[in-house]
C-alpha cells in the first residue's frame, strides 16, 4: 500500500514534469509574442524590451523553464518596478494579462469544476447503473432494446447540443429554471444546486451511456459465472441475484471508470462551462491560450494533469477495496 502510493507519487512527479516541459515547448513553437500582446498597440521598441524583461521572456527557454520549476517548488520574489512581491510556493507566477497570481486564479475556479464533477458524477452513476440494471434484468427484451436506443441516442449527442437543448427547454420554453449563473455553495447551497442542475444534467445525460453499457455487460457476464449458478442452486430469488450479486461483479469496473471520468471533468469541462457561462478551469484555459498567457496555461495544464493522476490513483485504490483478490 505505502509502496504503491510512493511509486505513484514518483510517477506523478515525472508525468507532471514532462507535461510542463511539453507545454513550454509548444508555446515557443507557436507564433505570437506574449510581450507584444501585453504591451498592446503603439508599443515602442524600448517599451517592448522592458515588458519582455519584466515577463522574463528575454531569457533562453531552458532558463525560463528552470525559473518556472524553482518558483513552483520554492517560491520566488517578483519585482514590478519599485515594489517587490513574494510569491510563496506553490507559485505558478503571474498572469501576463491580468497580473493576478496564477495559483489564486486556479483556486478561485477549482470549486466550480469540483461542483460540476461531483454533481454530474452522482447523476450519471445513478442513471447509468439504474438503466444498465433495468436492461440486464430482461436482456434482449423490449425494455432492454428501448433502454439501449435511448441511452445510445443521448450518449452520441455532443455535450454542447445537449446543453443548448436543456437551456432552451428549461429556461426558454418551460421557464422552470433561471439561466444558470454560478453561485458558490458557501453562499447559498440551494441556489448553487439550482443553478448547476442543467450543467449536471448535460454532462450526466451524455456520459451515462457508457455506464449503462458497462453495468449491463458486467451484470450479464457475471450472471453467466459459476458462482451465480451456485446461488440459483440454493434457491436465491433471481431479483436478489441480479441486484445484490451480479451488480457486485460489475461494480469494480464501473467505479474505476467513474473515478477517471471525474478526473476529466475536474480538469475542465470546456464545452459545458462555455455553454452555461460557468467560470471554471476549462473556460480559463481557452481564454488564456488565446492570449498566449503562458503562466496561466501552464498552471492549468499542471493542475489538470495532477487531478487526473490523483483520479487514477483513487480508481486503483477503489478497485482494490472492491475486489478482495486485488492487492496493491
Amino acid at each position: 500500500m505505502i509502496r504503491f502510493l510512493l511509486r505513484r507519487l514518483l510517477g506523478a512527479a515525472a508525468v507532471l514534469l514532462a507535461l510542463a516541459a511539453l507545454t513550454y515547448l509548444l508555446f515557443y513553437a507557436m507564433p505570437g509574442d506574449p510581450a507584444q500582446l501585453a504591451c498592446g498597440k503603439g508599443c515602442t521598441a524600448p517599451q517592448l524590451a522592458q515588458v519582455r524583461h519584466a515577463l522574463g521572456t528575454d531569457q533562453p527557454v531552458v532558463r525560463q523553464f528552470w525559473t518556472f520549476l524553482t518558483t513552483l517548488v520554492l517560491g520566488h520574489s517578483f519585482s514590478t518596478g519599485p515594489s517587490t512581491v513574494w510569491c510563496s510556493a506553490p507559485c505558478l507566477g503571474y498572469s501576463y494579462q491580468s497580473n493576478e497570481a496564477v495559483t489564486q486564479m486556479l483556486l478561485d475556479r477549482l470549486p466550480v469544476d469540483v461542483s460540476l464533477a461531483l454533481g454530474s458524477a452522482a447523476l450519471w452513476l445513478l442513471l447509468g447503473i439504474g438503466t444498465g440494471l433495468f436492461a440486464a434484468l430482461k436482456p434482449g427484451r423490449w425494455r432492454d432494446r428501448i433502454t439501449n436506443t435511448v441511452i445510445l441516442t443521448l450518449g452520441s449527442t455532443p455535450v454542447f447540443v445537449m446543453a443548448l437543448l436543456l437551456l432552451m427547454g428549461a429556461c426558454v420554453w418551460l421557464q422552470v429554471l433561471p439561466f444558470p449563473n454560478y453561485v458558490p455553495i458557501t453562499e447559498d447551497p440551494v441556489q448553487w444546486a439550482q443553478n448547476l442542475l442543467l450543467p449536471w444534467l448535460a454532462i450526466a445525460l451524455v456520459s451515462a451511456a457508457g455506464y449503462t453499457r458497462l453495468t449491463r455487460a458486467g451484470v450479464l457476464e457475471t450472471l453467466n459465472q459459476d458462482h451465480i449458478r451456485t446461488l440459483r442452486a440454493y434457491g436465491y430469488p433471481e431479483r436478489r441475484i441480479v441486484l445484490r450479486h451480479a451488480v457486485r461483479g460489475a461494480l469494480p469496473t464501473v467505479v474505476t471508470v467513474a473515478a477517471m471520468d471525474i478526473g476529466m471533468v475536474l480538469a475542465g469541462a470546456v464545452f459545458t462551462e462555455t455553454m452555461f457561462g460557468l467560470p471554471g478551469l476549462g473556460k480559463l484555459a481557452v481564454e488564456s491560450a488565446g492570449t498566449v498567457d503562458l503562466p496561466v496555461v501552464c498552471g492549468i495544464t499542471l493542475l489538470a494533469g495532477a487531478l487526473i493522476v490523483v483520479a487514477n490513483t483513487v480508481a486503483d485504490l477503489l478497485h482494490a477495496a472492491l475486489d478482495p483478490r486485488v492487492r496493491i
Binding site: 459465472q225 459459476d226 458462482h227 451456485t230 446461488l231 440459483r232 440454493y234 434457491g235 457486485r248 478482495p324
Partner: protein
C-alpha cells in the same frame, strides 16, 4: 440405514436448442442414504441430468421433460419439473443441494466464505445472524476447515478447500439429496480421496442420498450402490456397482472399463535407452516466483530416447520444471544442459535457430490453439516462423502430419471449436512435432480428456516417439497413465524430486510420499472383489 424413497425420476429428457438431445429418457429411484453413480464420457448427458434435477436449466433455452418426483414425509409428492419457480426455490438447498465440478469458481469471489454459507442458511431457515454464524462454524468444522477461516475470501483457499466449503454450504441445510457433479475432477488424487471419504461419512451421518456424477469409473465405483452408464443421453447399462464393474454386460461398459488406466496393467516390452546417453541434465535447478519457491534444487537426467514421467500434486513444481526444460522459464539458479550445452547460453540467433529442438504440448488444447485460426494454419505456423515461405508445401506438410496423428485433411480447414477435445489435442501434438524436435515436454496432455480418448492419445504418443525418435517428458497427476507411457518416473513434492524409479517399480516405491499418492488412487478391483 433406512430405505425411504426420496426421489423418483421418470423418463427424464433434456433437449438443448438445435434441437440436440442431451438426455434421452433417464429413470431411477433413490432412497435415503443411497448413492447412485452416473457415469459417462463428455457428451453423455450426465451433467445435463444433474442440472435438470435441481431445475437449473430454467431460464435457458434448454427443454426438460419427464418427472422429477420428490417424496417428502407428510406432504404430497412434488414434481419438480412441474413446480412453479417460487416453490422450486424452497426445495433448492433444504431438499436438494448441489456440489459442482468447478470449486475454484463456484463461490462468490467478493464475499467471505462464512457469509456465503450463512446467507444460504438464513435464506431457507429464517435464522438470526448469530444462529447462522453458529451453524456455519459447525459445518465448517465438520468438513475439516478451521471455523476461524470463515472470514477469509474464496481466493485464499485451495481448490480442495473450496470444495469443502461448498459441501459445508450444502450440509448446513441438511439436504435429503446431494447432487455432486464431477466433484473431484479438478482436484489432485490425494485431495480427491479426502473429498470422497468426506461425502461418504456425511451420507452415513445424515442419511442423505447422493447422486454422484463422474466420468471416472474409479471415483463412482468406490462410493455408489448402483451405477447407471450413460452414452449419448441413453442409459446403456445399470446395476449394482460390484456386478456392473465386475461383470459388465454392455460392450460400451466393457470398453469404458478397459480404457481406465490401471496401476497393475502389464507394461509393454520396451528396450530401455542407454543410461549413459544423456540428452537433458539439470543441476541444482531453482525457480522462485517472488517469495514462492517453485523449484528448490532439482537434479534430473533425461536419457536420449526415453520417456520420463513426472508426477506430483498441484503446486509440486512439475509444470515449472517442464517449462524450464524447454526454456520457457529461466532458472533463478542452477542449470539445464541440453545435448551438452547450457540452455541459458542460447541467445539471439542461436536461440532462434535451435528453439525448434525443444517443444511443448499443453494441458488445455482449447486455449493453446488460437481460436481464430484454422487448425492447418496453426500446425503450419512453426514452419512459417522458421522461414517456410512456400504455402503449398507448408500445407502439404501440415496435412501429412495431421494424418499421421489420426486426423485428416478436412480437419486442417476447421477451427479449434469445431473439433472434439481429443482431436484438438492431436492437432496440438502435430504442431509440436512439425519442426522435428528432439525433446517434447507434455504437460498434463490427457488430463482434460475422457478415459477412452485418453487411452487413444497415450497410444498415439507411444507410436510417435519411436517414429520421430523423440525424448519425452510426460507430466501428469494420474499415476496409472504416467506408468503406462514412461520408462522412468520422477516423483515431485514441494519443488523437489523425492525419488526417481523405473516405471515397473512404481508400485513398489521407496519413498512414503509416493506410497501415499498410490494409496489415494481409486481402485476398481477393491469394488469388484467386494
Amino acid at each position: 440405514m433406512t430405505h425411504d424413497l426420496v426421489l423418483r425420476v421418470e423418463d427424464l429428457r433434456v433437449t438443448h436448442p438445435g434441437p440436440v438431445t442431451a438426455l434421452d429418457g433417464l429413470s431411477f429411484e433413490l432412497a435415503a442414504g443411497q448413492v447412485l453413480g452416473l457415469v459417462g464420457e463428455s457428451g453423455s448427458g450426465k451433467s445435463a441430468a444433474a442440472l435438470a434435477l435441481l431445475g437449473l436449466h430454467r431460464g435457458t433455452r434448454t427443454r426438460v421433460e419427464g418427472g422429477i418426483l420428490l417424496h417428502r414425509a407428510d406432504r404430497p409428492v412434488l414434481d419438480l419439473n412441474q413446480a412453479g419457480d417460487a416453490e422450486l426455490r424452497t426445495v433448492r438447498g433444504p431438499e436438494l443441494a448441489m456440489v459442482f465440478q468447478e470449486p475454484l469458481t463456484s463461490l462468490d469471489p467478493y464475499r467471505r466464505v462464512g457469509a456465503q454459507i450463512a446467507a444460504a442458511y438464513r435464506l431457507h431457515t429464517g435464522a438470526s445472524r448469530a444462529e447462522a454464524r453458529q451453524r456455519t462454524a459447525e459445518v465448517l468444522d465438520r468438513v475439516g476447515i478451521d471455523p476461524k477461516r470463515a472470514r477469509d475470501y474464496p481466493h485464499q483457499f485451495s481448490g480442495g478447500m473450496r470444495q469443502r466449503v461448498l459441501i459445508a454450504m450444502a450440509l448446513a441445510l441438511r439436504p435429503r439429496v446431494l447432487v455432486a457433479d464431477e466433484p473431484t475432477t479438478a482436484l489432485d488424487v490425494t485431495v480427491q480421496a479426502q473429498i470422497l471419504r468426506l461425502l461418504d461419512e456425511l451420507r452415513q451421518e445424515t442419511g442423505m442420498a447422493l447422486v454422484l456424477v463422474s466420468h471416472d469409473v474409479g471415483v463412482v465405483g468406490g462410493l455408489a450402490d448402483e451405477v447407471v452408464v450413460l452414452r449419448q443421453g441413453r442409459a446403456v447399462e445399470r446395476g449394482a456397482t460390484a456386478r456392473l464393474l465386475g461383470r459388465p454386460e454392455h460392450p460400451y461398459t466393457q470398453a469404458l472399463l478397459r480404457a481406465v488406466p490401471r496401476l497393475d496393467a502389464p507394461l509393454p516390452e520396451r528396450q530401455a535407452p542407454a543410461a549413459d546417453d544423456v540428452l537433458v541434465e539439470t543441476a541444482g535447478l531453482r525457480v522462485d516466483f517472488g517469495s514462492v519457491q517453485a523449484l528448490r534444487g532439482v537434479d534430473l537426467t533425461v536419457r536420449r530416447g526415453e520417456t520420463l514421467g513426472v508426477v506430483g500434486e498441484s503446486g509440486s513444481g512439475k509444470s515449472t520444471l517442464g517449462r524450464a526444460l524447454v526454456r520457457l522459464q529461466d532458472p533463478t539458479s542452477g542449470t539445464v544442459r541440453f545435448d551438452g550445452q547450457d540452455l541459458a547460453s542460447w541467445r539471439g540467433r542461436e536461440l532462434r535457430r535451435r528453439r525448434h529442438e525443444l517443444q511443448m504440448v499443453f494441458q488445455d488444447p482449447t486455449s493453446s490453439l488460437n481460436p481464430r485460426r484454422l487448425i492447418g494454419d496453426s500446425v503450419a505456423e512453426p514452419l512459417r516462423v522458421h522461414g517456410g515461405r512456400d504455402e503449398a508445401k507448408l500445407r502439404a506438410e501440415a496435412v501429412a502430419l495431421l494424418e499421421r496423428v489420426g486426423l485428416d485433411a478436412a480437419h486442417a480447414d476447421r477451427y479449434p471449436h469445431e473439433l472434439s477435445g481429443g482431436q484438438r489435442q492431436r492437432a496440438a501434438i502435430a504442431r509440436a512435432l512439425i519442426l522435428r524436435p528432439k525433446l517434447v515436454v507434455c504437460d498434463e496432455p490427457v488430463s482434460a480428456l475422457d478415459v477412452t480418448t485418453q487411452a487413444q492419445v497415450v497410444s498415439l504418443l507411444r507410436e510417435l516417439r519411436e517414429e520421430f525418435e523423440l525424448t519425452l517428458v510426460f507430466i501428469a497427476h494420474d499415476l496409472a497413465v504416467v506408468r503406462s507411457v514412461s520408462d522412468r518416473v520422477a516423483v515431485m513434492r514441494k519443488g523437489e524430486v523425492v525419488e526417481t524409479l523405473a516405471a515397473a517399480e512404481l508400485t513398489r516405491p521407496q519413498h512414503e510420499y509416493t506410497r501415499a499418492l498410490l494409496d489415494a488412487v481409486p481402485r476398481l478391483d477393491a469394488v469388484t472383489a467386494g
